[in-house]
Structures are given as C-alpha cells and as structure tokens.
C-alpha cells in the first residue's frame, strides 16, 4: 500500500475503531452501572451476583 493510499484510508480505520470500541465501552458501562443501581434495590439474599 502506498503512503498516499494509507493517508487516505486511516481516518476511516480510526473512525471504525472509535465507533466500535466506544459503542461497546459505553454499553458495558451503562449495563454495569444500572446493575449496581438495581442491586441496591433488592434484598441481599436475592442478589445472585454482587
């Protein structure tokens, strides 16, 4: 691959990495935070994962 082709391509590659990893990261964070919040609302004996 030539330098010109690489320069033209890398923004798309970087954007793909950011979108995919960012999307998964945000979803994982929201899931864990919501899980922690809900855990506080159930009695300890009903918590399967603490």
């Amino acid at each position: 691959m030539t330098l010109a082709a690489l320069t033209a391509t890398w923004p798309y590659v970087a954007a793909a990495w950011v979108i995919v990893l960012g999307g998964i990261g945000v979803y994982a964070l929201v899931t864990v935070m919501r899980g922690r919040r809900l855990s506080r609302r159930v009695p300890p004996e009903k918590r399967r994962w603490s």
């Binding site: 798309y12 793909a16 994982a28 899931t31 809900l38 609302r41 159930v42 399967r48």
Partner: protein, 140 residues
C-alpha cells in the same frame, strides 16, 4: 458502510450484502421494540421470541447474499478449504473474532444479570404494593 467509502468510493450502495444487513438491523430494532412493549412479562417474551425466530432466515440471507446475487460486494473470502486471505490478515481477523467473542460473552452475562435484577425489582414493587393494600384493608 464506513469501509465502503475508501473501498468502493461510496458510503452506501444498494448492494445485496449491505441491503440484507440493513434489513437485519431493522428487524433487530423491531425485536427490541417488541421486547419493550407494555404487556405482561411472559406475553412480551413469547412475542419477542417469535420475532427472534423470524430473524433466523434473514441471517442466512445475509450470509449467502454475496453468492446468490452478484452485486458490488465480493464473494465469500473465507470458506472451508478455499480461503482467499493472506496469512497475517487471517490471523488478525481471527484474533479480532476471538476478542469480540469474549467481550460478547462478558456482556451477555452482565445483561442477563441486569434482566434478572429488573425482574426482582419489579416483583419487589408488586409485593410491596400488595402488602400496602392489605395494610389499608386491615385498618378500615
């Protein structure tokens, strides 16, 4: 779509693979909509499961679209006994595949945990409401 621009020169084209994948995305959004309908938990689950089953043929269509319709997307690159990929690219692809599979398993466990907690909270709220009504009845 993102790699379509540097590869094909356009973000979107009515290619068989892209179109069938877009259909799959719409069906998945439909599944999520059914899953969040305001109905009884078991009714909601059954309806969502039926929509989920309807998704299966579409997955096959996406998989085979490049072989059934010769549009812009190339035919299957990886198949048993006939892989048209350079060794390093194949290694990178499978590394990514295994990594994302592990992330998927981790997310699945946590999403299941969340759904379990949501049900517990829902049941707790119902138990509390019943207890309050009973207490009101005992007073009057």
């Amino acid at each position: 779509m993102l790699w379509g621009r540097p590869t094909w020169g356009v973000f979107w084209v009515w290619d068989a693979r892209l179109t069938s994948t877009a259909m799959l995305l719409l069906l998945l959004l439909g599944y999520l909509a059914v899953r969040h309908l305001d109905a009884d938990r078991s009714v909601r689950s059954k309806r969502a499961a039926i929509v989920g089953l309807l998704l299966v043929p579409n997955v096959i269509i996406v998989r085979e679209s490049v072989n059934w319709w010769r549009t812009l997307h190339q035919t299957a690159t990886i198949s048993l006994g006939d892989t048209k990929l350079d060794g390093l690219m194949l290694f990178s692809l499978f590394t990514g595949f295994v990594s994302l599979l592990l992330v998927f398993i981790w997310l699945m466990i946590h999403r299941f945990r969340l759904a379990w907690l949501e049900e517990q909270v829902e049941d707790e709220g119902l138990d509390l409401a019943i207890a309050e009504r009973r207490a009101e009845g005992a007073v009057s």
